[in-house]
Amino acid sequence: MSTSSTVTVPNATPRATRRASTSLLTKRRRRVGVVLTIPAFVLVGLLIVWPILQAVYYSMTYWDGLTTQWIGPSTWWQALHNPTMWRALENNALLLLAVPFALAIPLAVAVMLHQRVAGWKVFRSIYFLPTAISWVVIGLVAEHFFAYSGTLNSLLGDVGISNAHTDLLGSESTALIALGITFIFSMIGTNTMLFLTGLATLDTSLEEAARIDGASAWRIFRHITLPHLSRFIQLAFVMTIISAFSALFSLIFVMTGGGPGYATTTMEFLVYQTGFNQSQFGTAALYGLILFLITAVVGIVQLRLIGANDS
């Protein structure tokens, strides 16, 4: 097409010909480059980027899914005074208390695996196995573990605390604890996997040398292992926080349905409830944007982590 002008240079010097042909190649390369990204551009543009822009518009409307009525930025003001939304944000904040456990337990597990005691490969496979199953399934099992006539209470009964019948999921003050524990369990496999990969890149001769010099196991962990793992711990930290904000839907859906009351309704579940149970699509879109803003902040941190290593 437009390239014809560069090709038809009749009496060009050899040098100019070379330049012309390079630019022809470059042009072709660029054109192919653009063409190859078009499908990705369309897919991500239409199904991820465009809905974000739509959400901005719809967040300022009254919208029941059929009719839309423009209201304006005052919807945001209203949302910020909605106690239900603050309750959901509070639940999200409380769930962040689970994050240290979701990191510390896998860290301990990975360090133990790294000692390579007998059968460590079998243990490794066992620990990773729950990462393959759906959080719907984990939630179903957890529900029957925490239930009034469930495993937890029969375990407590076995140790002789039979009168301490707990009903974690049934009570508004404790349901979030049960959800948090299940969340920690669900994260163990992934985070252990991350830490173990980190440990595998650690130069064992360093540990060995420290041990020969008489350093205690704790000192070796504190001054050699932990600093080496810092990057992996950062990544796991960010991934766990993002999961806490955006991956609990399945667990909540099967374990509590957001209840009792709003005891286990997080932002992501509130988006679903507001949109599909109450048909307030405008408000739900607004809640989705708030969730987006929160994860964007966390996401920028992660991109910087990846990017810093990339260069």
Partner: protein, 283 residues
């Protein structure tokens, strides 16, 4: 055994103390293994009881397995899951390979900027765009039939796929591509015949990660596959649980069936999963 005799004499910790430490670690690992296997044990043992046996706490029966197919159209739902997974992964792979090759090797204008934007899309949780997404897909009548859910899964998986393939293709030497062009392969030929074979591990990683993710997902299937006959197994299970009328042993039997394919894929392709998870951090 050998290591004990080979250990340097300067080592302060006695072999005996070391053995005790390793014994303690072993016991701790066994305890951890019991915790991690707990869900599987519960599913297995509970599924071999009747509702009454489950409540009473003893006895075994295969009744819930016989009745499973009547409360959960299990074969249809397994098929649905397979269709949705395969179609989505196919799109994710093709789109990701093409864009990844382009971003890595065909420096066009604003390529880096667009690449960054694409990778950033990885950070957008579905819940954040759920409402407009649902309305858009429903408006085109795509909540009936597999296509709507497939497109949503494909869009959600593509950013990571692009990231992975771009990283992989950057390792392909420029000279190789130039040689391919000089030989008249053209860019398509270079991509499919030279670059793609080098990216086979990345293809495996994307496939395994996405298979587990899509197979295990609830939200997209719940909303974007409105026709009950097209429900994937995970959604069918959650819907059954939400109904609260099914016996718990049957639910557990269903859970086990739904978990099995992803577990097998995971056990077979563990190393690809680990690679995908830690890509970009360990070189």
């Amino acid at each position: 055994m050998n290591t004990l005799t080979a250990s340097p004499p300067t080592r302060l910790r006695s072999p005996r103390r070391r053995r005790v430490t390793r014994g303690v670690i072993f016991i701790a690992m066994v305890v951890m293994a019991i915790v991690m296997l707990y869900p599987f044990a519960v599913m297995l043992f509970t599924s071999f009881k009747t509702e009454n046996q489950y409540l009473a706490g003893h006895g075994t029966s295969t009744q819930s397995w016989h009745q499973l197919a009547s409360s959960l159209p299990i074969f249809q739902q397994l098929l649905n899951s397979t269709i949705v997974c395969s179609a989505s992964i196919a799109i994710i792979l093709v789109v990701g390979v093409m864009a990844g090759f382009s971003f890595a090797k065909l420096q066009f204008r604003f390529a880096n900027l667009i690449f960054l934007a694409m990778v950033s899309a990885m950070m957008v949780p579905l819940q954040a765009i759920l409402i407009p997404e649902y309305v858009n897909v429903a408006r085109f009548g795509l909540t009936n039939g597999y296509l709507g859910a497939v497109l949503v899964y494909a869009a959600l998986g593509t950013p990571f796929s692009i990231f992975l393939f771009t990283t992989y293709f950057r390792r392909v030497p420029d000279e190789l591509i130039e040689a391919g062009i000089v030989d008249g392969l053209g860019y398509w030929g270079v991509l499919w015949r030279l670059a793609l074979p080098m990216a086979l591990p990345a293809i495996a990683t994307v496939t395994v990660l996405q298979f587990i993710q899509i197979w295990d997902d609830l939200l997209v299937g719940l909303l974007f596959l409105q026709n009950p006959a097209e429900r994937p197994i995970t959604v069918g299970l959650a819907a059954l649980a939400a109904g609260r009328t099914t016996s718990i042993p049957q639910l557990m039997a269903g859970s086990l069936v739904s978990a099995l394919p992803a577990m097998l894929v995971y056990l077979g392709f563990q190393r690809f999963l680990v690679r995908g998870l830690t890509l970009g951090i360990d070189r």
